[in-house]
């Protein structure tokens, strides 16, 4: 008898206690809520605006480059010497990574599917990407991009906390790698026994590779500064 009364009392106290704690949580949540939502809307607007500005600049650059090319083509019609120079220019632009290129190749995705479970670290680190690109190069890759950042001779792949910097742009997984080259050779090199795919998959990285008949690898849009190096004037450079 007395026991039931006490049990009832304790139950009531517990319910009240539960309600009180829940209300505390709710208050804390609400004080983060509106501020976060406001900031999110603010950033989303800012993101949209800067993307527009970036796209406009890109369109302008492409427009200038097209006109430049027209002048060069017109000149090349004129005589053999000009035609040869135009061809050399195009070759040099391709090798330098300064033009959009297309050809057969692979579409690759590297992802850390469990990122949210262990978000204090990333199982894909910069060394993995470095080795991956190296493997592609060893297998004859002609043009490579990571998340549409073109890999040129000066491109660094650097750890920046949870992100990886490519051409100073910060990325988090997934990493989309596009490569132009002989598709079968490229894929075979990646999937070799004891090769890079095997090693990364055993670490828990999800990798998908698709052969493409035609893939576009975009051009490098950054700047190339020559502050410390200068061309050597040679007697007869070819």
């Amino acid at each position: 008898m007395k026991n039931t009364k006490i049990q009832l009392a304790i139950s009531v106290v517990c319910v009240v206690l539960g309600l009180m704690i829940a209300i505390q949580f709710r208050t804390v949540k609400q004080s983060i809520g509106p501020v976060t939502e406001y900031r999110a809307r603010e950033i989303a607007t800012q993101l949209k605006k800067v993307r527009e500005e970036r796209d406009n600049l890109l369109a302008l650059k492409n427009d200038y480059e097209k006109k430049i090319s027209e002048y060069e083509d017109a000149e090349a019609q004129g005589n053999l010497a000009s035609r040869i120079i135009k061809e050399e220019l195009e070759k040099a632009r391709i090798i330098a990574g300064l033009v959009d290129v297309e050809g057969p190749g692979l579409n690759i995705l590297l992802d850390d599917l469990k990122f949210l479970e262990h978000y204090s670290y990333n199982i894909i680190d910069y060394t993995d990407l470095l080795e991956f690109i190296n493997e592609l190069n060893a297998a004859g890759a002609e043009a490579v991009s990571i998340n549409d950042e073109r890999v040129i001779s000066r491109t660094e792949i650097r750890q920046a906390g949870l992100h990886i910097n490519v051409n100073t742009i910060k990325f988090a997984p997934p990493f989309a790698i596009k490569v132009i080259g002989e598709p079968k050779t490229l894929e075979a090199a990646l999937r070799m026994r004891g090769g890079i795919v095997e090693r990364l998959e055993s670490k828990g990285i999800a990798i998908s590779i698709t052969q493409q008949q035609s893939i576009i690898v975009g051009k490098y849009n950054g700047i190339i500064e020559n502050k410390y190096s200068r061309m050597v004037k040679e007697g007869d450079s070819n």
Partner: protein, 228 residues
């Protein structure tokens, strides 16, 4: 029991009330990162737009002058070839020399550590790029975007040429910054020295780096139709 019950009921009531959906701090940080990335791109684009505009103007002026842009194209070709690594260059920088460890590793747990591997050279070159190196060569071989560095037994293959130690890495750039990056405590070279790999880093006033001489890889890629 009742405590948990009361708690759960209240939480349920509150969770269903938020109108905008779940805005997490992580998503906010991601968006902020996106904004920063795009701002970086805009900065770079402003510069390259200015350069392209200038080139166009130069061509236009040439046509007005003598109807030919041949001379301009010659200059442009030199400039682009330099960007592509197809020109010999010189300038200040550093020279890093790597030699296998001299220590006896017969009883070592992992003799692999006493040798220089392709990943070591890859990492060092990557660090140099991050530190702004404008031109890099290993044992005289110019490094470009398609260069691969692979172990081939006792030697290392840089593209198709085989090289044995010592590995001499030359880099042109801000000598102070390059040296600081190479010698950084807890940096890659610092870590390598633990296993006795002999490393020497020195600043040099004038380094000459040869142009890339291998066959350029233009067998599969071609400029996009309608592109430049």
């Amino acid at each position: 029991m009742a405590f948990i019950f009361g708690f759960l009921i209240t939480i349920q009531l509150k969770l269903n009330i938020t109108p905008e959906g779940i805005i997490t701090i992580q998503r906010l940080l991601d968006m902020e990162n996106d904004v920063n990335n795009v701002l970086s791109e805009i900065n770079n684009l402003k510069q390259s737009v200015a350069e392209a505009g200038q080139k166009l103007k130069e061509y236009e002026l040439n046509i007005d002058d003598d109807g030919s842009i041949y001379a301009s194209m010659e200059n442009e070709l030199k400039k682009i070839r330099n960007y592509a690594g197809l020109e010999k260059v010189e300038g200040s920088g550093i020279i890093i020399t790597l030699n296998d460890s001299l220590e006896s590793f017969e009883d070592a747990i992992n003799p692999e550590l006493f040798l220089i591997h392709d990943i070591d050279v890859l990492e060092i070159v990557n660090d140099l790029k991050a530190a702004g190196a404008e031109a890099i060569a290993i044992n005289g071989v110019r490094i470009i975007s398609t260069t691969s560095i692979k172990c081939g037994g006792p030697t290392i293959n840089i593209n198709n040429s085989r090289h044995a130690t010592p590995f001499v890495i030359k880099a042109i750039g801000d000598a102070k910054t390059l040296e600081a990056t190479a010698l950084a405590p807890d940096g890659y070279i610092d870590w390598m020295e633990y296993s006795g790999i002999r490393i020497n880093v020195k600043k040099v006033e004038n380094i000459v780096i040869d142009k890339y001489t291998d066959i350029p890889r233009i067998n599969y890629q071609k400029i996009v139709e309608g592109g430049v």
